[in-house]
């Protein structure tokens, strides 16, 4: 049986005494404050921690234990700390990609259709904003002073997009305004040439809104979504990727979080040949809370990658990250990298991140890399869990032995698994649509 899961686990630069039990596979990988804020949640059966599959039938094909990742023969360029990654508006600051960079090592560059090498001067997907009501929507030139004020590119494609875009869509929820309804940003691609796009979403102080960025059609798109969550604001941003089969989409979605703000970010990646999202939440003042959810369903040949960053740079903020992925079909590949940074000043931080993957067929591969860096011991709690499980013959047998046909059995499992994330969207019409999309994905896999 081919290798189906792979997980690397990187205990990073935590001060001595704060790394607990990293070598113990029976425990959830867990880094915690010495205060004893260690919580050991029960493991889900059918899942094993850190990417190993439970099924006895798969024994031997799985890689047990914590290990260093190797990817081809060439060494990956190491990074001392996630916090030291280069950030710049200048494309020249990012060398040409080789695929050996820490943050590109899982991405098949050949399939980027030139996003990392070419001028991004194709026509960008069209944007139509509806449901705005009391929300301001503008199209502005690249010279607008608000653009780039809150987010700085962290990789070459993001810098290239910044370098090239000509006009940006700016959505502003005015101060103390509760948006009338969901703001739907419909992004429709019609061209295959590499293009750049910039979107700025600002939730001003004490405003409240749900903004859905809904990607479909065909495109080769480098995109920056810049998000500002003002003091006391409550913003939900949902990014849905239901692209056509050939689309390539690389999107940086950086959010700057103000004092006592609430921010929820939801990623739903279903369609496209290669989708690579890098959502970040950067705390800039105390008292804020962030939830980041993700749902991805990769079928044969699809590459769906999500690399997120939660940057706890200030005291007393809270973050929760939950990403769930399902994979089916030969060559389905998903990548989840969850970087959580608790900087020296970030006392009182409370953070937990989880990634779970469900492999439905042979030949699919889920990479899952949680990475927690802790520079202060004075925190409420910090932990992470990563588990990749296989829906195996024993699960199927159990359900079928109760009269449930195979197709229904698989649906039952996947729906149950992914529902947790869909339920977080809280836009009923969208939840319904996405549930249906998931069903379609399942059906398309001939399961």
């Amino acid at each position: 049986m081919a290798e189906t899961t792979h997980t690397e686990f990187t205990p990073n630069t935590a001060p001595e005494g704060e790394v607990t039990d990293l070598g113990d596979l029976d425990e959830k990988a867990r880094l915690g404050a010495p205060s004893g804020a260690i919580d050991r949640s029960a493991a889900i059966d059918g899942f094993t921690e850190q990417g190993e599959s439970l099924s006895a039938q798969n024994a031997g094909s799985e890689q047990l234990g914590l290990k260093k990742h190797s990817h081809g023969n060439a060494p990956v360029v190491p990074e001392a700390s996630r916090g030291e990654r280069r950030r710049s508006f200048d494309l020249a600051d990012f060398p040409t990609l080789t695929g050996l960079e820490e943050d590109w090592r899982f991405t098949p560059l050949k399939r980027l259709r030139g996003l990392h090498t070419e001028e991004l001067n194709g026509s960008a997907p069209s944007i139509e904003v509806t449901g705005a009501g009391n929300v301001t929507v503008e199209t502005v030139g690249r010279g607008d002073a608000r653009l780039g004020a809150s987010a700085t590119p962290e990789d070459r494609v993001s810098a290239a997009a910044w370098h090239t875009f000509t006009e940006a869509t700016v959505i502003t929820i005015p101060k103390e305004t509760v948006a009338d309804g969901e703001v739907m940003v419909s992004v429709t691609g019609t061209h295959a040439e590499a293009a750049a796009q910039h979107i700025l979403i600002t939730a001003e102080a004490f405003s409240k809104a749900v903004v859905v960025i809904d990607h479909h059609g065909s495109a080769t798109l480098a995109q920056n979504v810049e998000i500002v969550v003002g003091d006391g604001a409550d913003l939900t941003v949902v990014s849905v990727q239901e692209w056509d089969d050939d689309a390539v989409h690389v999107s940086s979605q950086q959010a700057k979080i103000g004092r006592d703000a609430r921010y929820k970010h939801v990623v739903v990646s279903l369609g496209g040949d290669l989708v690579r999202l890098t959502p970040s939440s950067i705390f800039t003042a105390p008292g804020a809370e962030v939830e980041m959810y993700g749902l991805y369903f990769a079928d044969a040949g699809q590459h769906l990658e999500q690399r997120l960053l939660v940057d706890h740079a200030v005291p007393n903020c809270k973050s929760r990250v939950t990403y769930k992925g399902a994979l089916q079909g030969a060559g389905a590949h998903t990548v989840w990298v969850g970087d959580v940074l608790i900087r020296k000043a970030a006392e009182g931080t409370d953070t937990y991140e989880t990634n779970r993957n469900l492999i439905l067929t042979d030949g699919a591969r889920a990479d899952s890399v949680p990475n927690l860096e802790i520079e202060t011991g004075l925190i409420e709690g910090a932990g992470h869990a990563s588990a990749t499980g296989r829906f195996d013959d024993e699960h199927l047998f159990y359900l079928m032995a109760r009269g449930i046909p195979e197709v229904t059995a698989r649906r039952l499992v996947v729906r149950g698994f992914l529902n947790e994330v869909i339920q977080q969207i809280k836009v009923p019409s969208l939840e319904e649509r996405l549930s249906e999309s998931v069903e379609r994905e399942l059906a398309a896999g001939n399961l």
């Binding site: 029960a42 059966d45 699960h395 032995a401 109760r402 009269g403 449930i404 195979e406 499992v413 149950g416």
Partner: protein
């Protein structure tokens, strides 16, 4: 009345060391209303028999037949067998990620009956059955078998037996891992269903203690993939007193 008939069944499994024969000619007939106990030492092939009846893909049938009222069970898929009325309470029920008990039970019932159960009655039936088996109400919202103790898993198997109402129930060591109280509760569940007179029962067990609660009509001693001896309930008492030694001694141990 229904009949489940097993004739000269030969079953093997493929292992890394090659093909290993496990069942070597099993013949057994169960009618509605009857309770047959199969007793035998560890590794004698009891679970293999149970899993083969249910259609587990790991077991290869090399010869013999299984029929349900004359219908060829071996040609049915796993779910078809269940819909035909066969139910296996498993020795080691698996935990199914992502599926709540409620959702699972309703989906299974719908598949078995060919139509969704009336919601009002169904909810009540589930609640009542859970209460009788002393299963906490909050289990309904938990994922199937996830984090359940060994005893809880067994109770949930019997819960399904009572809700799905099969024509033939095969209980694979449902008694093992149960304390006395749980054993009673579970046995009562089986007896409740059996007393309706519409079910035949194949009770696989290693120990005689469950036979104090569930009275078998026939006892079969299973050794090395065959039925070595059969008789009435008195055979169980004899086994309790003498153990399996007499039978295992008769059968040369295979390497």
């Amino acid at each position: 009345m229904s009949t489940l008939e097993i004739k000269d069944l030969h079953v093997s499994i493929d292992t890394e060391q090659g093909n290993v024969p496990i069942l070597k000619g099993v013949t057994l007939t169960i009618n509605t209303g009857e309770t047959h106990a199969i007793m035998g030492p560890n590794g004698s092939g009891k679970s293999t028999l149970a899993s083969t009846i249910a259609g587990h893909p790991r077991y290869k049938v090399d010869g013999g037949t299984i029929t349900l009222d004359g219908e060829d069970v071996l040609s049915m898929s796993v779910d078809e067998r269940a819909r035909a009325g066969l139910f296996l309470a498993m020795q080691y029920p698996v935990e199914v990620p992502g599926v709540t008990m409620t959702n699972f039970l309703r989906t299974a019932k719908t598949a078995l009956d060919g139509e969704a159960p009336s919601l009002r009655h169904w909810t009540k039936d589930v609640k009542t059955a859970m209460a009788q088996l002393r299963i906490d109400a909050d289990f309904a919202q938990r994922n199937v078998n996830e984090g359940f103790s060994g005893g809880e898993k067994k109770r949930v198997e019997i819960l399904q037996l009572e809700l799905f109402r099969p024509r033939f129930a095969i209980l694979d060591e449902t008694d093992s891992g149960l304390d006395v109280d749980a054993l009673k509760v579970v046995s009562e569940g089986v007896n409740r269903e059996h007393s309706k007179g519409e079910m035949g029962t194949l009770l696989i067990t290693h120990y005689t203690r469950i036979l104090r609660y569930i009275k078998p009509d026939f006892v079969h001693v299973f050794v090395a993939g065959r039925i070595a001896e059969q008789g009435g309930p008195e055979l169980a008492d004899q086994l309790e007193a003498e153990g399996y030694d007499r039978f295992t001694a008769q059968t040369p141990v295979e390497a």
